[in-house]
Amino acid sequence: MTVKPSVQPASTSALSWLSYLVPGLGQLLLGHTLLGVQFLATAALVWLIAWPLLQSGAAFSIVLALIAVVSLHLGAGLTAAADARRRLGAEQAHAAQNVYKRWSVIVALAVVVLIGGLLLKWIVTLPSWNEVQRNFLFLLIGRFRAEQFADQLWRLWGFAALALGTVAAFGMAQLKIRNGWIPLVIGAAVGIVLLFPTVSPQVSIGGLALSLILAILGILGAIPLGLLFGVGRTNTLPVIRGISVGYIELFRSLPFITVIFWFFIFVPYVLGEGTQFWAVVAALSLFTGAYVAEIVRAGIQALPSGQAEAARALGLSGTQTMLQVVLPQAVRNMIPPLVGQFISLFKDTSLVSIVGLIELAGAGRITANRLVTATFELYLTVALLYFVFAYLLSLLARRLEAPRAVR
């Protein structure tokens, strides 16, 4: 290794660190622990060697990097194959080895490493990250400033309650303890009660915090609506079924933006000023509720009809049959599509900025407009924040499902 540290600017060392992180983590995610670790080391070496050359613009450095990646990758593949042979037997080991010998795989990986590295380099060396840093708090909580509400600071414990509930549910799922939804619901309830007054228009909490608050309130509204109308749609009484179908089809046929606009204008008109926030929550709940209702209906109809028949034959009433027999089973089928729906609700909150609520997307846009220079960096940050929370939600859901699937 002939790299002199003094040649590298500060950003470069950060970059090379990131560039071997990506493919290495990729391998780790694929479950190839050994390969992942080796790949991290490989990429580190490649970038340590190639980086100074690349900086000086030497074209052959790319070739050098490619060769290094290919050879080290092959080495890693062989090691992985040996590992597989030890654990799984010759046949699988052979298959594993062949995958790493395949040129398409090698070339694809090399290209990913190089392009990924260059892209990362470009992103990291964008000029205005310091602007993002300066406005990051605005992206997270909007104009909300604690010092203006020093007497209300304890309310921020609501976030802690939310986080604790989530972590507890996650942990319980990991440990295969049932009823993980209990801490989740308690955490959400406590969090919302505590944070509730901070969302009034005067306090104007915004940014990511507002997005999360809107999403959680929207979900809490959408679940009872969805249950009510989803069950209603399976009712034998034509009136109840008609009302349910009307609600579901109406909201599924309207673009979300029109629903927001309509509620934003209509609700304060009827209930007075200062209700805009709740108008938006109602719009989110009613809109998502229609989709939840369809998920509920599908979950109910996926059950064999013998279940409801057996319950009715025992003398259980229609309501008892639904609550004791049908719904407990249907809920299990409903979890995966529900999570998808809630992720999409979380992303839909980005549309409420058109009526002046400065949630995450709105905060990003305002900042970008004000600064002019840091547009790309800001939107990238906003996208990352959305991604992290949406992905966490889907991870959590997968963990919550797992222990139930056992029995």
């Binding site: 279940q307 057996a310 009715r312 034959a313 025992l314 003398g315 259980l316 008892q320 004791q324 407990p328």
Partner: protein, 258 residues
């Protein structure tokens, strides 16, 4: 003939019938599934219903607890006429049903399956409902499985739980719709034995089954369905040895291969 059978043959047939169906019709769209069925069943009688597939056997016994509504005719169960606006739950409390596919509730334990209806419908306190459920599970021979889930039981065990579940409501009539036809041969006997015990205890039973051995041992009457109607109503032995109807003869030779 067994002792229980002799006892029952001696029971008076002059009492009020517990089930009385007169000219019962049922349509599914254009399909005329029941075409004027008449049947009356005395308390304590065991009636076996047989007939070719699609002849309306299931449809008929399902009209008796109103899982199916009949379009024409009258059905009276234990003095309650089945019609619109009736308190259905009152009738269903009198009539237990066992299905071909068991239909146990998979999210509840065996004990919870049996105790559910008494707790919810009769408002029996939990401790009492559980105790009774255990007694019933004892009676069908699976008390030691009480805390398992249905999916952990064999088909025969599941069907015995289903019988216990129906009995938990203390019904006056039990309906069985091909209770053994989803079971492996070695499990059929354990279910039939439970049903025989039940018949011996004087339960009124309507059983759709093709188990001729069971019919001849336990049933007081055998009813042959064809194309939505009863074409023969006789004793099992009479039917077995001397079927009157052409269709019945053809059916017997198909089912029994003789």
């Amino acid at each position: 003939m067994t002792a229980t059978n002799l006892q029952k043959a001696a029971s008076p047939s002059s009492a009020e019938p517990i089930i009385k169906a007169v000219d019962v019709h049922k349509n599914f769209g254009n399909f005329h599934a029941l075409r004027g069925v008449n049947m009356s069943v005395q308390p304590g009688e065991v009636v076996v219903i047989i007939g070719p597939s699609g002849s309306g056997k299931s449809t008929f016994i399902r009209t008796i607890n109103r899982l199916e509504e009949h379009d024409k005719g009258t059905i009276v169960v234990d003095g309650i006429e089945l019609k619109d606006g009736q308190n259905l739950d009152a009738i269903r409390r009198e009539v237990g049903m066992v299905f071909q596919s068991f239909n146990l509730f998979p999210h509840l334990t065996v004990l919870q399956n049996v105790a559910l209806a008494p707790m919810r419908v009769r408002k029996t306190p939990k401790a009492q409902a559980d105790k009774r459920a255990l007694e019933l599970l004892e009676r069908v021979g699976i008390a030691e499985q009480a805390h398992k889930f249905p999916a952990q039981l064999s088909g025969g065990q599941q069907q015995r739980v289903a019988i216990a579940r129906a009995l938990a409501m203390d019904p006056k009539v039990m309906l069985f719709d091909e209770p053994t036809s989803a079971l492996d041969p070695e499990m059929i006997k354990e279910v039939l034995d439970v049903m025989k015990g039940l018949a011996g205890s004087g339960m009124t039973m309507l059983v759709v089954t093709h188990e001729m051995g069971f019919a001849r041992e336990v049933a007081d009457r055998l009813v042959f369905f064809d194309e939505g109607n009863i074409v023969e109503d006789t004793t099992p032995d009479e039917f077995y040895n001397n079927p009157q109807h052409e269709r019945a003869k053809a059916f017997l030779s198909k089912v029994l291969g003789h």
